[in-house]
Symmetry: C2
Subunit: 260 residues, 2 copies
Amino acid sequence: MRVLIVLAHPERQSLTAALNQVVLKELEAEGHEVRTSDLYAIGWKSNIDRHDFPRLPNSQPLRVASASRHGYEETHGLTEDVRAEQDKLLWADTVVFQFPLWWFAMPAILKGWVDRVFSCGFAYGVGEHNDKRWGDRYGEGVFAGKRALLVVTTGGWAEHYSARGINGPVDDLLFPINHGILFYTGFDVLPPFVAYRVDRLDETEFHALADKLRERIRTIAVTNPISYRMQNGGDYIVPSMVLRDDIQSANPLGFQLHQI
Amino acid sequence: MRVLIVLAHPERQSLTAALNQVVLKELEAEGHEVRTSDLYAIGWKSNIDRHDFPRLPNSQPLRVASASRHGYEETHGLTEDVRAEQDKLLWADTVVFQFPLWWFAMPAILKGWVDRVFSCGFAYGVGEHNDKRWGDRYGEGVFAGKRALLVVTTGGWAEHYSARGINGPVDDLLFPINHGILFYTGFDVLPPFVAYRVDRLDETEFHALADKLRERIRTIAVTNPISYRMQNGGDYIVPSMVLRDDIQSANPLGFQLHQI
């Protein structure tokens, strides 16, 4: 396999960084090719702005989606740092994202990686729109056939992220990433690996956690992805993209509807 | 009222910026005091790193939560840009966030504002933990008594964000922000104002949208907030913070459980 690791933590002596070494070593031990985008180490620019589109005339207002589409289509229309990440994504057949959950979402540096690298015409705004299909998204798209896995750390308790815990279920909190970013662009999204109470881990607990993570990495090519519904598979009505009335679930509302 | 507007869009000729002017003018017409944090205009730094903690010794690894707590407590322990935003938040009794929904979440620049400004000891990690309460969060905290409102733009269709739409319900997509960031830190969170298909608006549609937004702003002090459950009000078991068994909902799973 060719694996891209996207790492977002400012400190090499953090648990996220230690788990990154666990992932890296396990992948190398299994003979996989690995490349890493260590966003803090490369000083990743997070804020999308007109400097992202070197060929956008100064006289023209920045319309992000259209500037992004034109930039993506033109030679030197995007910056080199963005192209390099797009190339790594195309090279990889599996992408592992390693980051701490800050305020129930990605750190800004990783969100800025998505905002800037997932260009229009590349990661969204692609495919035919007609009465049968609504573009290549949610199960189709540039990353179709690739796998993605989140490896997340949080200071919070597992119970607080459980089905009835106060933070909300962790799978729902990660839905905007797993479904809205990764499945949207075509990835097969694996169930996330989440480490809780990470500020309190002793050495024994770290080793147990590392063992679990190694097992997830060893099985990364065969683990069943989350069974999100394909957009263009017949479950959704075009163009409202609302689930057909006859599709029901134990849960009448919420994100679980979008899984089989 | 004293209103802080936090604005996150790179282009002054955008719909988000136009709606910002609508909000600003309406607030001023009503006689409110308004301050704005225009994050792109001030060149906001998004990526939290050790430069955020000027008094953290170089020899010491960056542990974000503890560095944040010490920085917050010490004179010159945080950077001036972060202190200025904290002061604005303390000054305001209402905060309006205006941003485009990019990949179902805040733009990186706004996420970076939260990551950096919501320090430990200020916005989280506060209050007593005992067998009756689990700190001041979810309905209590530094921003208790203040109101918050999201004003969001998206290129997508309203139907795609409806209860059974493919993106997931917009209220659930915004839950990590409204519940996880704003209610967590004590805000009364108003139902969000969401504008759809913003790339296609003609002038008539813009005026209709602006009218709706003006109405929301005019009623901002009296609109009922989202009825999230208080953490320490008896609905959750301490310390697992799981909802009591007898609390049921039409929806057995998902975020709606956390509303009354």
